[in-house]
Amino acid sequence: VSDLLAWGRRYLMCPPQHFGVLYEINPWMNREVSVDPDEARAQWDGLVGTLRDAGAEVVIMPPRAEVPDLVFTANAGLVNGGQFVPSHFRHPERRPETSINAAWFAARGWHVDHLPDELDHEGAGDALPFTPEAGQTVLLSGYSFRSDASAATELSTLLRCAVRPVQLVDPRLYHVDLTFCPLDRRRAIVAPLGWDDYGRKVVEALVPEPLVLSDDEALGFCANSVVVGTTVVMPTVPPRVGRQLERWGFTVAECRVDEFLKAGGGCRCLTLALDVVLSPEAPPAPVPTAP
């Protein structure tokens, strides 16, 4: 493991009390497939436990009946120290989440900045930071299925951080967090299947040592993993991927979240890192209070 990620020790999660596949807004969703609520809860609890075991703190956000996808907190928005930019969702089904997220963060001391109304961006689901050993943090932002390319420009102004938009081309990998998982300051899990040629070149230039997923591995949501220091929490661990991570010095924890895969979400989708700092100019994160 080279220089560890400077973030990923504190996560926001929302229990799946109201979770279900109630609508279809990505190719994984099928309303005829029913979610087992008990199994979903058990898997979610399992993820919370795995993260805590790895040394992360988990902050819980109360669920809301009218927004089943609130469970996917990665899409709440973007955290930059004490600044929070709530997502603007492309699909009307998820738009009510924006004000809920904004209110939650504002109530806990975050300064909330908004994207212009006409631009969609789905938060940490479509933007993940990579900080090269020598250099400033770059936010790799996906666009096309859920986020607008122009939102990247707005975000770079709001967050004072370089944002590189890459086009997502496979509807099954509709968010950038299904294609990209920063591991440390040299390495990241990458799924080229999700990007066009330009996007592949951008990532190639950004990440010195990528762990390149095969198409099958990518579609198994391998990149939708959570990194806590040297622990990588993955929804499935193909042996080849696990061996490579271990060679690099990571510990791999498999954490099954099958019930959530029915809605097109994996481990990363269920979490939002609260300790991300994208810019040296970011306001300090608020002192944690009881949820």
């Binding site: 390319a149 420009t153 770079s156 102004t157 370089a162 944002v163 086009q167 330009y198 996007g199 070149k201």
Partner: protein, 403 residues
């Protein structure tokens, strides 16, 4: 063809977004020009590019819609700014200076197509119409377009038959197969005539010196030339050749100087002046052959523009250069093919008045003439470096059969 301006801002260099947008434009068969590019100095600064995209109307719209996905948005257009001219013949400061390309002006939210594209003119808007106006024709109170807001030009369509002319492109060369070029020019004339377009011939005296006059006369008589521009020299030598059999005193048939021939052209001019006009001299039977005779007989309009070194001149010659250029302009609408035959001065004068879409063939033994024409903005001119007499003969043979 249409042209639209798009703008894209952000980390567009590192994200290869700009490269992708430019590639997409070319892949769609459109073309672009980066009209403005501001590169961010640091990693954090965003860059901004303003790009003019041009292409066929059927592909441009869908392309721009597709580019929006990558964050490239159409630049909102504003109306053109109109400022009344204060004085006759003087344009307001900052006036929009035209190109010879198809041009549109936005007035009250509507794009008006400029009636008569011509380079180096002003744009005047009157009663919901936009037209080009040469400086001297602008009158006090005319609404003149100032600045470039609300003005857009449509990129020139490349030679309609690109395959045919691809190999000549805009290159001037004496190394091209002439017979093939003549055949292609003949094809373009046929095509123009089928479309109902006019053919313009601009002639220099070398047409007569090299023995091309009888063949050009054949073309005029057969209706292949709709309007003719020339100077005093061409008309004089054409008439001299017809009346006395010499051109500048040299026998056109024998190629030898004739005794006292140096004065032949001036004597001919004198006789035409006695008749009052070329047409009168034709009617009186004094001129019975040649190109000018053919024009009079066939009712083909001609404009003879004078110059400072002219002898005489012939009574038909317009010696006021500005009036001569205006007379040219009257005949430009409808012209689709222009043949510049061994003429420098008049070819450039004509080129100045022609819209860029007019197929222009510049035939000259001197490569420099073609280059000159292109350098003065008539980029559409295709050069054929050859002796003009044989060229005209071959062209006439192609269109009319051997004489």
């Amino acid at each position: 063809m249409g042209t639209e301006t798009i703008e894209v801002t952000g980390h567009i260099v590192d994200s290869l977004l700009l490269a992708k947008i430019l590639d997409s434009i070319l892949e769609a068969g459109c073309d672009y020009e980066i009209v403005e590019f501001r590169i961010g100095k640091t990693n954090l600064d965003t860059s901004q590019a303003r790009i003019e995209v041009s292409g066929g109307d059927e592909v441009l719209g869908p392309l721009l819609d597709a580019l929006q996905i990558h964050g490239a948005n159409r630049v909102a257009h504003t109306d053109a700014r109109l400022v009344p001219a204060e004085v006759d013949g003087v344009l307001p400061p900052g006036f929009y200076s035209t190109t010879n390309l198809a041009t549109e002006v936005r007035v009250d939210g509507q794009w008006l197509t400029v009636d008569n594209p011509e380079m180096d003119c002003a744009l005047v808007v009157l009663d919901g119409r936009a037209r080009t106006a040469p400086m001297h024709r602008v009158r006090a109170g005319d609404a003149v377009v100032v600045g470039s807001d609300g003005v857009r030009v449509r990129a020139p369509a490349h030679a309609r038959d690109t395959q045919v002319f691809e190999f000549m492109a805009s290159e001037v060369s004496s190394e091209k197969p002439k017979a093939l070029l003549v055949a292609k020019v003949a094809e373009r004339l046929r095509a123009a005539r089928e479309r109902g377009g006019k053919v313009l011939a601009v002639c220099g005296p070398a047409v007569v010196h090299t023995g091309g006059a009888p063949d050009l006369a054949r073309l005029v008589t057969a209706g292949w030339v709709d309007v003719l521009f020339a100077g005093n020299g061409f008309a004089t030598h054409d008439i001299e050749a017809s009346v006395l059999g010499t051109s500048l005193g040299v026998s056109v048939a024998e190629g030898v100087p004739t005794e006292g021939g140096h004065a032949n052209h001036i004597r001919v001019i004198n006789e035409i002046r006695r008749h009052g006009s070329i047409a009168a001299a034709v009617d009186a039977g004094f001129v019975s052959g040649g190109v000018m005779h053919a024009c009079v007989r066939a009712g083909v309009p001609f404009v003879l523009g004078g110059s400072i070194r002219d002898d005489g001149p012939l009574p038909d010659v317009i010696t006021d250069a500005v009036a001569a250029a205006d007379a040219l302009r009257e005949h430009v609408p409808g012209v689709e093919v222009a043949l510049m035959l061994a003429s420098t001065l008049h070819a450039i004068a004509t080129g100045n008045c022609l819209p860029a879409w007019v197929e222009t063939f510049c035939v000259d033994i001197n490569q420099a003439v073609v280059t000159k024409l292109a350098d003065r903005g008539s980029h559409q001119a295709l050069g054929i470096v050859t002796d003009v007499g044989p060229f005209v003969r071959q062209l006439a043979d192609h269109l009319l059969g051997a004489a």
